[in-house]
């Protein structure tokens, strides 16, 4: 099939080769995201939810939803979400 050749951008190369271990599924991410977000917002130390950080780097949809939940809870609690978002984005 004749097609125009495409270039892979550095961002696409990084995304295609991103390590996704330890494994966490999207269902597990959804199940754990509420406690993960509260942990990020209300504790100084990093939250230990194994695989969550890796999953959020590899799944744009879950990452958007976790960050959105964090922003919403921070807004309701009157907390500056900045530090937690910084930790979330790693």
């Amino acid at each position: 099939m004749t097609r125009d050749l495409r270039h892979l951008t550095p961002e696409q190369v990084s995304s295609l080769t991103l390590p996704t271990e330890p494994w966490l599924s999207c269902d597990d991410c959804f199940r754990l995201m509420d406690q993960y977000v509260e942990g990020l917002l209300h504790r100084q130390r990093d939250v230990d939810v194994p695989g969550m950080d890796v999953h959020l780097r590899g799944c744009a949809a879950c990452a958007e939803e976790v960050e959105s939940l964090l922003q919403l809870v921070a807004q309701e609690d009157g907390i500056d979400p900045g530090p937690a978002i910084t930790r979330l984005r790693g």
Partner: protein, 221 residues
């Protein structure tokens, strides 16, 4: 305690303007407390859905107030139904409101993505589009070399299905929910396929000397 074992006596009356002390109990037992709890829960769902639609409104072809409201209200209703079917899975590891919000956020985000792509075709390519990819002017030689190696790995290490998934999700930026809907599958299944894609590509690149071998063993999927 399961829902079935909760008695009406356990339920603290819900006063107007105040959230239930125990959401699960208030929502589980029929009566005026349940009615009030359902009303307040719906308010939570609408609040979270509006928050999510507002965040993603730039994706929408017509991000006017009416469209956003319709999407948010529809998502809130769907999310509330989904939540109520999973009420007995709430374990109290977060506040109930945080737990509840995530249902509306997921539903609203999924609906915005679907709405944004409703009129767009999703091309599922697994052709030789990657063959002999040459670097763009902005790419340095090393990055270009890795790019070519990844293009080769896509051709050689992936199945046609995996190539289609990788191209759609990571190059064409098709939202995972949209692709799942078009393929009749789920977000979770596509993410697992993507995980397999990445694992295969990294293994190929390690074998060809374009990536260092992993230094620690990782758990399986």
């Amino acid at each position: 305690m399961t829902l079935a074992r909760r008695s009406r006596e356990d339920v603290r009356p819900v006063e107007h303007g105040q959230d239930p002390a125990d959401w699960v109990r208030a929502l589980a037992l029929p009566g005026p407390e349940q009615d009030e709890a359902l009303r307040r829960l719906h308010d939570l769902m609408v609040r979270a859905a509006r928050h999510q639609v507002w965040r993603m409104r730039s994706m929408l072809p017509r991000p006017d107030a009416r469209t956003c409201d319709e999407l948010a209200n529809g998502a809130a209703d769907e999310a509330m139904t989904a939540l109520l079917t999973k009420l007995d899975t709430f374990e109290g590891r977060s506040r109930f409101t945080t737990w509840a919000y995530k249902f509306a956020i997921l539903q609203a985000a999924t609906e915005v993505r679907g709405h944004a792509w409703a009129a767009r075709e999703v091309a599922l390519d697994d052709t030789d589009v990657w063959r002999d990819a040459t670097p763009g002017p902005e790419q340095h030689a090393e990055a270009a070399d890795l790019g070519r190696a990844v293009a080769t790995a896509i051709q050689q290490a992936l199945t046609p299905y995996q190539r289609r998934i990788a191209l759609a999700l990571l190059v064409d930026q098709v939202p995972i929910d949209v692709l799942a809907d078009r393929l009749g599958t789920t977000r979770g299944a596509l993410y697992k396929a993507l995980h397999d894609v990445r694992t295969r590509l990294r293994a190929h690149l390690v074998a060809t000397g374009h990536m260092p071998a992993p230094t620690t063993s990782a758990g399986g999927s």
